[in-house]
């Protein structure tokens, strides 16, 4: 009996396939593209904080909002999507494998996304699309901008289809077995992404493209915004869930421990699928055309993500404590003191976890119905998502890069790069603390987001904001040094580090872990509940928006200089 159990344990935890050279090239193409995006987007961020300090003017008549559009599009949409898809492919390749056909289709997705990105980038660089990454109508960009965005989305759908197919084929070959945890998580994230992007795709394909080409005279502004935010909030969970994959299933291995609970990890991902999408109205609380009742309903649904978030926090610290105690570090905090602080693969994601405490608390404030009007569209919001996405998520992605890139390129993470990585993490933590804190405070004082430097006629109130904008420039400059360091580390790991075999760390379950209940793999049920919640939260508001629509809006190209 014991031997049988041991054999089953060995079998269930044998999820390490070998990633071939050609597969590595595919995954590295996505990740490499993400690092190009990081450098360009980071440089734009530096220009923004410098302009806003009041001591610097952009050369050659470059428009601040053009720079801001590049920053938002390339970091919010390009860097994240490319890194996530590359990382998720690597996880699938390692746990369930990829077939020859799937591999070819995956490349097709890469090229469609890249074509789209280049189209949009050229449009922005020509000054024809300074509409920021939210592209709110009736500001009108050149049609190529919207078509490019549509191609990025369509390319990312191909990744969805391939990932689903990968797990499906694996399950056919392994009847009655639970799917590998990481593959399960990837598939959940891609289901969420697909359902969420349907909204923005509908808006871009049916509203923006015909309108920007002149086939439609007017656009329903409120409908386009509602479809955008139907996508806009799950977008942030699409960024966050890959970080959670690393926290649940990779970090435990790095610190020398086991997965805390396979079932809880899966359950929390299912809950994220349910409660990520039917919540977009909390971005539209101060809008005139949406009914209060439905705003409030979606606030309740928004707050539900607290449950899986708290489960995740508990799992993390439980893993840390169990692992530490097992290693013999007693006392109240001995396990904590002896965490592998000098291993950048742990340190970077850990700082990310810490940032999620104020980040999540700030998110609760933002979603708190009435409190929202205190901070809506102030630079507090910018401070908030620079904690969540630009610290929690991105530091975890950096933490992944330190082992994934050398694993894929057949090189080693050397002690020197590890030390440089720790310095990079410290730069990031310090820079972001300064910048984000200054943004939060200035936001509470009323300072607006998405605005170039302005003294607003020289009022006393605005003069008070100056010091915070200087602090943001200091923090932003430190962050930019962090970006240069990270890009250097990436190049080093990809091309110059010594040859070797870097481990792909995937944690195992405890020997005596309770079996994961099979009901967690009722995919059809999860998708049905997700769609039911979306229909509940959105059907009446959207019918109302369409039925009570005002006359539509003609395009406005001149305010953004798109003449």
């Amino acid at each position: 009996m014991a031997i049988e159990k041991l054999l089953k344990y060995e079998h269930d935890n044998k999820f390490s396939l070998t990633i071939s050279k050609s597969e590595s090239r595919l995954y590295m193409s996505f990740i490499g593209f993400a690092f190009i995006a990081l450098f360009v987007g980071g440089l734009m961020g530096l220009l923004q904080v410098l302009v806003r300090s009041g001591y610097y003017t952009l050369p050659a008549g470059i428009d601040y909002y053009q720079v801001l559009t590049v920053h938002g599009v390339i970091l919010g949409l390009v860097l994240t999507t490319y890194f996530i898809i590359g990382f998720q492919y690597a996880l699938m390749g390692k746990t369930v494998g990829i077939s020859e056909t799937q591999f070819r289709v995956a490349w097709l997705g890469f090229w469609i996304m890249t074509l789209g990105t280049i189209m949009s980038a050229i449009t922005i660089l020509y000054g024809k699309a300074s509409v920021l990454y939210t592209f709110y109508a009736p500001l009108q960009a050149h049609p190529a901008f919207y078509i490019g965005l549509a191609l990025v989305i369509i390319g990312s759908w191909i990744a969805c289809f391939v990932n689903w197919r990968q797990l499906y084929v694996w399950k056919k070959k392994h009847p009655g077995e639970k799917s590998p945890l990481l593959a399960f998580m990837v598939v959940i994230n891609m289901i969420m992404w697909f359902i969420a992007t349907l909204g923005v795709a509908a808006s871009v394909l049916l509203q923006f493209i015909p309108w920007s080409l002149g086939y439609a005279a007017t656009i329903d502004v409120l409908l386009s915004r509602t479809l955008f935010w139907y996508f806009g909030h799950p977008l942030v969970y699409f960024w966050l869930l890959p970080a959670y994959m690393a926290w649940y299933a990779i970090i435990p291995k790095i610190i020398g421990g086991k997965i805390f609970s396979d079932s809880l990890a899966r359950l929390s991902f299912v809950l994220f699928l349910f409660f990520s999408i039917p919540v977009g109205l909390h971005h539209q609380l101060t809008e005139p055309g949406v009914q209060t009742t439905w705003k409030f309903v979606q606030i309740i649904l928004t707050f539900m993500v607290i449950v899986p978030s708290l489960m995740t926090a508990f799992s993390m610290f439980a893993t840390f404590e169990i692992t530490g105690r097992r290693k013999g570090f007693g006392g109240l905090f001995g396990w904590f003191v002896h965490l592998p602080w000098k291993d950048v693969r742990f340190l970077a994601p850990f700082i990310g976890m810490l940032a999620f405490i104020p980040g999540g608390a700030g998110g609760l404030i933002n979603a708190s119905y009435q409190l929202n009007s205190v901070i809506h569209n102030t630079i507090w919001v910018t401070g908030h998502f620079h904690l969540t996405v630009a610290t929690t998520v991105i530091l975890t992605f950096f933490g992944i890069t330190y082992w994934l890139v050398p694993h894929l390129t057949g090189r080693k993470l050397t002690p020197t790069i590890n030390r440089l990585g720790i310095i990079q993490t410290i730069f990031w933590a310090v820079g972001m603390t300064i910048m984000s804190t200054a943004m939060h405070i200035q936001g509470l004082l009323g300072g607006p987001r998405r605005s170039a430097y302005s003294e607003y006629g020289g009022s006393e109130q605005v003069a008070e904001w100056g010091a915070y904008q200087v602090a943001q420039a200091v923090g932003g400059t430190i962050l930019f040094i962090g970006i240069v360091l990270m890009v250097y580390i990436f190049i080093k790991l990809a091309f110059f580090s010594p040859k070797g075999n870097e481990e792909f760390p995937i944690a195992k379950e405890e020997m005596d872990a309770e079996p994961t209940p099979m009901w967690l793999e009722r995919w059809k049920l999860w998708v049905t509940i997700t769609i039911a919640l979306i229909l509940f939260a959105y059907t009446i508001p959207i019918i109302d928006i369409i039925q009570h629509a005002p006359p539509g809006s003609a395009p406005f190209a001149w305010p953004i200089g798109n003449n």
């Binding site: 909002y65 005139p288 055309g289 102030t378």
Partner: protein
């Protein structure tokens, strides 16, 4: 599925807090009646002058009664139209005695704008096709900046006026 004892406590604490937060928000919303603006009153963005409220002579601050004001605003790229003074110059500075209630009504003939009296709760989106409105009471004397906090184009940061709350 097994839940650790401490995890149960942790989740009970978390869900309890969540319910408490939501009850406070619901109390504020449905008992005290504090909602963000959501009136759904529509207007033709190409013909805002057809609406009595937004005819040029009705723009700006009007005193209705002791301590009761109405502020009608047309927000356009890149200007807040608050009416004209006696000399026919555009108004860029308004004064409101502290403690008065002000009904703010704002529309846009072009793109989306923000309406925020910085540092106060007077914060709303102004979208083509809708009349944005909310009633506020400004209790703290001082000079505030009314500014656009939703990106509206290259002159977005030049769109402002001042609001003085007087003793």
């Amino acid at each position: 599925m097994h839940l650790h004892k401490y995890e149960k406590w942790w989740l009970i604490f978390g869900v309890g807090t969540l319910i408490a937060f939501l009850l406070i928000l619901a109390y504020g919303a449905f008992y005290l009646g504090t909602h963000p603006q959501s009136h759904g009153v529509t207007i033709d963005p190409e013909n805002i002058g057809a609406e009595e409220t937004f005819k040029p002579e009705n723009l700006g601050l009007t005193k209705l009664d002791e301590g009761k004001y109405v502020l009608n605003v047309v927000a356009s790229a890149f200007n807040y139209d608050l009416g004209t003074d006696e000399e026919g110059k555009p108004v860029k500075h308004i004064q409101i005695p502290k403690g008065s209630t002000v009904l703010i009504q704002a529309v846009t003939p072009d793109v989306i704008h923000g309406f925020n009296i910085a540092g106060t709760n007077a914060n709303m989106m102004v979208e083509p096709g809708f009349i944005s409105s909310m009633e506020v009471t400004l209790n703290k004397p001082g000079e505030y900046t009314l500014l656009c906090n939703e990106y509206c184009g290259s002159g977005h940061h030049m769109m402002f006026a001042t609001v003085e709350v007087t003793e």
